[in-house]
């Protein structure tokens, strides 16, 4: 393997010498040179003619992104996506978002600064630099100070460089490298790398699957399934009758329950006189009535109350709701019929609430008026 010259280096023993050497090299007009010291030396940046680092701008940008991003995210969660009233405070309680915003700003600023510095300012990780593993590097990593002038500098001339560094009082030494070693770049589509990626993907998926679907269901993770309580609809060994669920105490009345005083035998028109429709025929009640009519009534009575339904032939057809009899009935008579049933029609009081029944009555009245419209309605 052919060795190429990377740089000419010189080692100095004292901080004062390295400052002087750095100045000499800079004044001689070299651009591609570097100074290596085991710890940062004050005044060396100036001696080398380095410009002020721009790292602070990265920090500023990352901190602003972190702060703006976090407060927007917290606000979006609290106001738009998952609004909750907490302690009677407004949704957008921004002072309470300050701690998390601050923490995320610090986090991003620090990670951004260090990440940018390592990846973009240093171009690390790079463990195959020509200077690595040289006697020169071993000295500057311990207690010596070194200058290295690279061979690819415009005005590089080996002889002159050696003289220059020697005149500044250093021990001069050349650093060589083999091009092959340095230009080696791992290939993205290298089969080994692909296999590695596939392996990682497989291991992650398999691990994730096993963890979330198997491991989490092994004991003791029983997801609170095993609890010392009786589930609904199950047996109980505790009670003599073996039922897990208990009946309410005799005479218990459900909240909001109003008993219906009329039985099946009562005549609809006579009972109806005593029942008053509490709902006005507003758009809201008519919409509710229409919805419930379509759900519960239309299968037999038809969409418009004509008694011509899709169940035609399977049951005896109900009479039309547009007959004079039904039209002259009081509202209460229709309500009574829905509540207790009539002939083949069963009671609907358990399926349809009181309010919904009255809403259906209102809707039927609307249908009747639409079918028997007067001249005045058309105007």
């Amino acid at each position: 393997m052919e060795k190429k010259l990377y740089s000419i280096t010189a080692i100095y023993s004292y901080p004062n010498d390295i400052i002087r050497a750095a100045k000499t090299v800079r004044d001689a007009g070299y651009k591609k040179f570097d100074v290596h010291t085991p710890y940062p030396i004050h005044g060396l940046d100036g001696a080398m003619g380095l410009k002020e680092t721009k790292l602070g701008f990265v920090t500023l940008a990352a901190a602003i992104v972190g702060a703006a991003g976090m407060i927007s995210f917290a606000s979006w969660v609290a106001v738009v996506d998952y609004p909750q009233v907490i302690g009677g405070k407004p949704y957008w309680s921004w002072p309470a978002f300050v701690p998390v915003t601050y923490e995320i700003a610090v986090l991003l600023a620090v990670l951004g600064t260090v990440g940018a510095m390592i990846a973009f300012f240093f171009k690390f990780p790079n463990i195959s630099h020509p200077l690595h593993d040289t006697p020169y590097m071993k000295k500057v990593s311990a207690d010596k100070f070194g200058v290295s002038i690279q061979a690819d500098d415009e005005q590089f001339d080996e002889k002159k460089v050696r003289e220059l560094l020697k005149s500044a009082g250093g021990e001069v030494e050349a650093v060589y490298y083999s091009e092959e070693f340095l230009t080696f770049k791992p290939q993205t589509f290298d089969p080994k790398f692909i296999v590695l990626l596939a392996g990682i993907a497989l291991a992650t998926s398999a691990g994730g699957y096993l963890y979330f679907n198997k491991v989490l269901y092994l004991p003791p993770f029983d997801w609170m399934m095993m609890q010392p309580k009786v589930n609904p609809q199950t047996m109980s060994e505790f009670y003599a009758d073996g039922f897990g669920m208990r009946l309410p105490v005799a005479g218990t009345v459900a909240r909001g329950f109003i008993p219906y005083p009329y039985a099946l035998g009562a005549k609809a028109d006579s009972v109806g006189k005593f029942l008053v429709n509490p709902l006005l025929p507003t758009k809201t009640t008519l919409d509710l009535g229409k919805k419930k009519y379509f759900t519960y009534c239309s299968p037999c009575h038809g969409n418009f109350g004509n008694g011509d339904s899709r169940m035609n032939g399977q049951f005896p057809n109900p009479p039309t709701l547009h007959s004079d009899k039904v039209r002259t009935w009081p509202d209460g008579a229709i309500f009574h019929t829905i509540t207790v049933g009539q002939n083949v029609m069963p009671s609907y009081q358990y399926q349809i609430s009181r309010e919904e029944r009255w809403a259906i009555v209102n809707y039927i009245r609307t249908l009747q008026r639409a079918y028997n419209a007067k001249e005045s309605d058309l105007q």
């Binding site: 680092t53 907490i86 990593s141």
Partner: protein
């Protein structure tokens, strides 16, 4: 009166004697390259046993649930939260030493900074385990702690102090870890060049990321270190402030106090420095670092312990004063009960160890005595653990309503977890001093006499 007059115009050297940079490397790298001493193995055996006690307690906890602890209503926060606050507090010294003292140009921090930063990381790890396991079903904790899009359409509550705590502690851990690693990069490069075996060489090559001591890199590196110190300083103050919000934002008498944030931060620094002091004295002795970690450093640490201990003591007394001055009967009762109620022994242990015994550091003889420093630092650790016990348990066990009064009695599993956390901490410390440079080599080389140029005004821009 002492007849010696201190000359304050002269700076006391950070390290004693005049070691060369090469000799420093030799001293610091020795524990890493040598086969460990027998006492290191004895230490590891002890801490490993403690760690195993913790593992067993933890397994039993996971199997049975948090009912194995002594917690119940009304004292639903017991050893778990006491230990959490205790360890987070310990974790405050590291960043304080590496960031705040860096900004204040306190060069004596150099010898102990690396060490204290490592202790920060380990202490925060110990702390985090308690909050995770006290959630009851820790395998689901991620869903409760972090805001991530999920199929329930549920988000965490960003207005809750407990959620702030999640963000604060995690940020603190990540930033401390990055800070620590950043400082280690040049030392890894030195270790790489001094490596005796291939394994060490490969490991340290990768860990050093290819650092080559270039001044073009040092320039950015120093700025990054400054920026990080600038960010870590308010961060370290924010973390224990937010931990104190966990209590102060609630309405429990004894917790609902505006003095909590500064009082907690002072307490955290107090306990953190005490723990650093303890570990420091042992390491200094074991690895013969006497000339790197000088008596002057230990004395300065003792002074900080004295100052923060007195601040904490002031807070204890001020809480009492406000309880009386506010005219709030419940508040007054809680504080009188704290000192003279069923947990009086915890309160007086706290007062003795945190307020009274550190006052001995006013004496220069005690301040510069290794044995006294060590013992008093242990006292501080005991006292600060009891402080958290007093704040949490005594405030909860006597609520507004006498019908919801109760007592907290820890079980053996509570103690098992506590012992286990100490085991984890000291095991990690022992592994750290064996496998990583316990003192920042690149930093300490920069402060030995003659390390910096003498004429650096000469044409160089500043």
């Amino acid at each position: 009166m002492s007849s010696t007059v201190l000359d304050y115009t002269k700076e006391i050297p950070v390290i004693e004697g005049l070691p060369t940079a090469a000799a420093l490397d030799e001293t610091i790298v020795k524990p890493i390259n040598d086969f460990p001493q027998r006492r290191w193995f004895i230490g590891l055996a002890i801490t490993g046993t403690m760690l195993m006690i913790g593992v067993v307690s933890l397994s039993w906890l996971l199997w049975k649930g948090v009912g194995v602890w002594g917690i119940n209503q009304p004292v639903a926060w017991g050893f778990d939260v006491v230990n959490f606050v205790f360890w987070v507090g310990i974790g405050h010294a590291g960043t304080l030493i590496s960031a705040i003292l860096f900004l204040l140009r306190q060069k004596w921090r150099t010898g102990i900074a690396r060490f204290a930063e490592a202790m920060t990381l380990f202490a925060v790890l110990c702390a985090v385990q308690f909050v995770i396991f006290h959630t009851g079903r820790p395998w689901l904790a991620m869903a409760w702690l972090f805001p991530y899009p999920n199929q329930h359409g549920v988000w965490v509550n960003f207005t809750s102090p407990l959620e702030w705590d999640v963000f604060a502690v995690n940020t603190y851990f990540i930033v401390s870890a990055v800070f620590w690693y950043l400082g280690l990069i040049p030392d890894f490069a030195t270790l790489r060049d001094r490596a005796t075996t291939t394994i060490k060489k490969v490991t340290f090559s990768i860990l050093s990321l290819g650092w080559r001591f270039s001044n073009r890199h040092w320039q950015h590196y120093e700025r990054a270190y400054l920026i990080m110190a600038g960010f870590a300083t308010p961060l370290v103050l924010s973390v224990h402030t937010i931990v104190s919000f966990d209590f102060a934002v609630s309405i429990i008498p004894g917790w609902h106090t505006t003095i909590f944030p500064p009082y907690f931060v002072a307490g955290a620094i107090f306990s953190g420095f005490a723990m650093v002091q303890n570990v420091l004295i042992i390491t200094r002795k074991a690895f013969k670092f006497e000339h790197l970690i000088t008596m002057d450093t230990i004395e300065k640490m003792n002074k900080i312990i004295l100052v923060t201990g007195t601040i904490v003591g002031y807070a204890y007394i001020m809480e009492f004063f406000i309880a009386w001055y506010s005219g709030n009967a419940t508040e007054l009762f809680v504080f009188v009960n704290r000192a003279f109620g069923p947990y009086w022994w915890a309160y007086w242990t706290m007062m003795t160890c945190n307020l009274f015994t550190p006052q001995l550091f006013w004496s220069k003889r005690i301040r510069t005595s290794l044995l006294a420093s060590f013992i008093l630092a242990i006292f501080v650790n005991i006292g600060m653990w009891f402080e958290r016990f007093v704040i949490i348990v005594t405030s909860l066990h006597r609520d507004f309503l006498p019908s919801s009064w109760g007592m907290f009695v820890p079980t053996m599993w509570d103690f098992g977890m506590l012992i286990g956390s100490f085991g984890l901490f000291f095991t990690l410390v022992l592994l750290f001093v064996k496998f990583l440079p316990a003192i920042a080599m690149a930093e300490i080389k920069a402060v030995i006499p003659g390390a910096q140029p003498t004429h650096h005004g000469n044409g160089a821009s500043h």
